[in-house]
């Protein structure tokens, strides 16, 4: 069981890293709008207009 002397400090280290990343994210204003970022995954980053065979229905009507 003495392995916990190693494993628990490692776990704590990970917690600290996680917290540090979270603090950085908060400071760089990533949490200022809690609604928008959750939605952003739904939208494609760059609309590839030259791919009609994939998304034929998204072409603008003529």
């Amino acid at each position: 069981m003495s392995i916990i002397y190693v494993l628990i400090p490692i776990a704590i280290l990970f917690v600290c890293i996680g917290l540090a990343i979270f603090f950085w994210a908060v400071r760089s204003r990533q949490f200022d709008d809690l609604n928008k970022e959750g939605m952003s995954i739904l939208f494609e980053d760059e609309k590839k207009a030259v791919k009609p065979e994939v998304n034929p229905d998204k072409q603008p009507p003529q």
């Binding site: 704590i12 979270f22 709008d33 928008k36 207009a49």
Partner: protein, 795 residues
């Protein structure tokens, strides 16, 4: 989403209109050319994803954005007032009206990022603000604003006030503290499970000590960082010789923490690190939800600068120089075109127009202005062009004064001492005395060794968790419940006051009534035309007017009728040529009886075709449909109802006859309104004020509870304690009911918490309760209180 109405805004599609567009091979119907144009832009730009993922319909698009006003923003002076320069880039903060969900933010960001002149865009969908940095040399501000307007939103420059920046910083601190207590709670809980199992199956003292030390290490930041707001608040209270709810919280946190630390260091007794962490985390979470609700309410409504005119056109000789409204001085002459906001108080030098002063007076009827008449800053010029001599700088204008009056009344809000604070004070005093007495009793007379642990179990068992959670959890759940129904509560004290309410003051124009003209009666004089056709014809012609009367017809607008040469005759009406199907045209006149040359006609709008009277329409500012039932229901609750209005016309009597208020005050200035409410407050009444205009907002601070309507001005929404998000006055009933329900739950919680303590204290003092049992009792009563509060979320 399913669409029964307009594909863009989901409003009903007026009969006879045909605006359709094929989107993804499906024909979609629209309610007006505005929505159609916006949808066309969105689809043409390849942003059709917006319609797929949005969670709320868009707001109805306006066809003609105020292009004239926008151009004024390009003047160097105005730009300097509104923007910040960083190297070759200019940064501006915009307030965007019409953002309804996260998809809107995406849409605006996408659209703006397409322009190479724009370096960065960030839209915040919960506060409806947008920060843009761009190159002014490549793109004018007016074009930037216009590209947002094309998507159906109204963007206007905005300057965040100090308070808002502070709140943003506070939000970030909240998130960090929550993260620390949340992460640590998980870790400590995990270790605590190891210790629980150790108690059952046996654990080597060496490992037990190790787990305790780690828990101590992990709990330290929670106690000293996450719980800091509670500690500071408690410290302030004690310094001011007061006791608030944070005092027992801090006491519980520190006492439990120090006792556990003592137990860890000296390897004796029990540890409660997991309780400390969870307690701090849960309390923080409650506070965080409350804070978020408040910031959202504030940001969504707090937009003072929008009503302050930004730009003006200065007349210098023959030239027109755009300038910033804030730099206007007395004696200067400005030109105000149709649709523009008047930038300063002054006197009309030349020109004739009708002006909407409803923002300042609450009166929606347009006032005719000719040379020599005074005009006020913040009012909107409808149809004519005015030259105005400036009398006072913007800060000293009537608008500025009303805002000032508001600031003055801000600190004079009648205070109600929170009941729970009183209870806490009483309870904590007794608790501290009992704990101290217990310690002395055991130390000197009973068992010196057990004194510390018995005192601890007294404090832990009675740990005021349940007591401290009783009110906040119930209030948070009540806020969430009301929010879901469309009631935004910015000041949660109102929930405590509302059940004691006995008097309601209501504003008339815009609150009890719809605040706009609607068609009351029509009369057909020539049966050759149908009524529907004539309404559509009038709507077609009136579409060219900015006058409030014109808006009464906008729902009848169709595209099938063709008119040409529409002319606006200031203060009287419009004339046009109607092109019939066979190509011939007829003269159409729409306007006042005198304008149409008709005698003995009292109707507000007459319509003539080829100088022949064919149709008359009577207009009125109708009561909201739900008002009579609401007034009856409020009276049944035993509330005294009073009507406060700036209006002194006969309509007040008509409304009074129908609704029978207990008191009516008519023709009131904003100052008089405040006085009437102060008198009621001085009498000892608990007063609610419901209003919508700028002229009502000073009253908001005088009353115990203030309620603003969503259709009201931004200023009034900013100042009110409660904002009704749907234009439905029945929400007032919901609000009162919700508050009564919340109070009942709080009472139940308090009874339980106090009752439990009364049973456990004697047992603990006698030493029958081991700290272990005390923790179970404490957790159980906390869970009971929280689940009781959660009942508020149902239904």
């Amino acid at each position: 989403m399913s669409y029964t109405g307009c594909f863009h805004c989901n409003e009903a599609i007026p009969a006879g209109s045909d605006f359709s567009l094929s989107i993804e091979q499906q024909p979609r119907q629209f309610c007006c050319p505005g929505c159609l144009a916006v949808a066309e832009t969105i689809i043409d730009q390849g942003l059709g994803d917006y319609y797929k993922f949005r969670t709320a319909p868009a707001s109805k698009a306006q066809l003609v954005p105020d292009q004239l006003q926008l151009i004024n923003y390009d003047s160097a002076e105005v730009l300097a007032d509104l923007t910040q320069h960083k190297a070759d880039q200019t940064q501006i903060e915009l307030s965007i009206a019409g953002i309804s969900c996260a998809a809107c933010a995406w849409l605006i960001e996408k659209q703006l990022k397409k322009n190479p002149a724009i370096k960065s865009v960030s839209v915040n969908s919960s506060t409806a603000r947008c920060v843009v940095s761009w190159d002014v040399k490549q793109l004018k501000l007016s074009d930037l604003l216009n590209s947002i307007n094309q998507l159906g939103y109204q963007a206007s420059p905005f300057m965040a006030d100090q308070e808002e920046a502070v709140q943003q910083a506070e939000l970030r601190r909240f998130l960090k503290r929550l993260a620390v207590s949340g992460f640590m709670s998980m870790q400590v809980m995990m270790l605590a499970f190891g210790l629980y199992f150790g108690d059952y199956t046996g654990i080597e003292p060496e490992f037990e000590g190790y787990l305790r030390w780690i828990s101590l290490f992990l709990t330290t930041p929670v106690v000293f960082y996450s719980a800091k707001p509670f500690t500071l608040s408690a410290w302030r209270a004690i310094k001011g010789r007061e006791l608030n709810m944070d005092v027992p919280v801090t006491l519980a946190v520190f006492y439990t923490f120090l006792a556990s630390a003592y137990a860890t260091v000296f390897d004796t007794g029990e540890v409660y690190f997991e309780s400390v962490c969870m307690f701090v985390f849960l309390l923080q979470l409650g506070k965080f939800f409350e804070f978020r609700a408040r910031t959202q309410a504030r940001a969504a409504t707090g937009n003072l600068l929008k009503i302050m005119p930004v730009s003006a056109r200065l007349v210098q000789g023959d030239e027109l120089v755009p300038t910033s409204a804030r730099r206007l001085e007395a004696g200067q002459i400005i030109l105000v075109q149709a649709g523009e906001t008047i930038a300063a108080d002054g006197v009309v030098l030349s020109g004739q127009s009708s002006v909407d002063e409803s923002m300042l007076t609450g009166e929606y009827k347009a006032v005719n202005k000719a040379s020599g008449d005074t005009v006020m800053a913040g009012s909107i010029n409808h149809d004519g062009v005015l030259k105005v001599t400036v009398h006072q700088a913007l800060a000293h204008s009537r608008l500025g004064q009303i805002i000032e009056l508001q600031q003055q009344t801000l600190n004079q809000k009648p205070q109600i001492v929170e009941k729970t604070t009183k209870l806490a004070r009483f309870f904590i005093q007794r608790l501290l005395i009992i704990a101290f007495a217990t310690f002395l009793l055991w130390y000197f007379w009973l068992d010196q060794d057990r004194a510390f642990w018995v005192t601890l179990s007294v404090l832990v068992a009675t740990c005021p968790c349940a007591l401290t959670l009783a009110t906040p959890t119930a209030i948070t759940c009540a806020l969430a419940r009301l929010n879901r129904k469309g009631i935004l509560i910015k000041n949660q004290q109102v929930l405590e006051i509302l059940p004691q309410l006995n008097s309601i003051f209501l504003d008339k124009t815009g609150s009890l009534t719809q605040g706009r003209f609607s068609i009351q009666r029509t009369h057909l004089h020539d049966t050759a035309y149908s009524e529907d056709f004539l309404l559509a014809l009038i709507a077609r012609v009136e579409a060219y007017s900015e006058h409030p009367i014109a808006k009464a017809f906008s729902t009848y607008l169709t595209t099938t009728i063709k008119v040409e040469q529409v002319q606006v005759h200031v203060g009287s009406g419009l004339s046009a040529h109607w092109v019939q199907h066979d190509g011939t045209s007829a003269d159409v006149k729409v306007g006042s009886a005198a304008f149409c040359g008709v005698q003995n006609e009292s109707a507000a709008v007459c319509c003539c075709i080829n100088n022949q009277l064919v149709f008359t329409v009577e207009l009125s500012d109708a009561l909201r449909p739900e008002v009579p039932a609401l007034v009856k229901a409020l009276k049944q609750r035993g509330l005294a109802l009073s009507m406060l209005t700036g209006d002194s016309s006969a309509q007040v009597e008509a409304v009074q006859q129908q609704l029978e208020f207990d008191q009516v005050f008519k023709g009131c200035s904003p100052e008089q309104k405040v006085d009437h409410i102060r008198q009621a407050v001085a009498k000892g009444d608990k007063v609610l004020m419901l209003g919508d205009g700028i002229n009502d907002s000073p009253c908001f601070h005088a009353a115990h509870v203030s309620v603003a309507l969503d259709s009201g001005t931004d200023l009034s929404k900013n100042q009110a304690d409660v904002v009704l998000l749907h234009n439905d006055l029945n929400l007032v009933q919901e609000l009162i009911e919700g508050a009564v329900l919340a109070q009942r739950i709080v009472k139940q919680n308090l009874w339980w918490a106090v009752g439990y303590n009364l049973v456990i204290i004697p047992l603990a003092v006698m030493g029958f309760v081991s700290p272990y049992v005390a923790v179970i009792g404490m957790s159980f009563s906390s869970i009971l209180v929280v689940s009781n509060s959660l009942r508020l979320l149902k239904a």
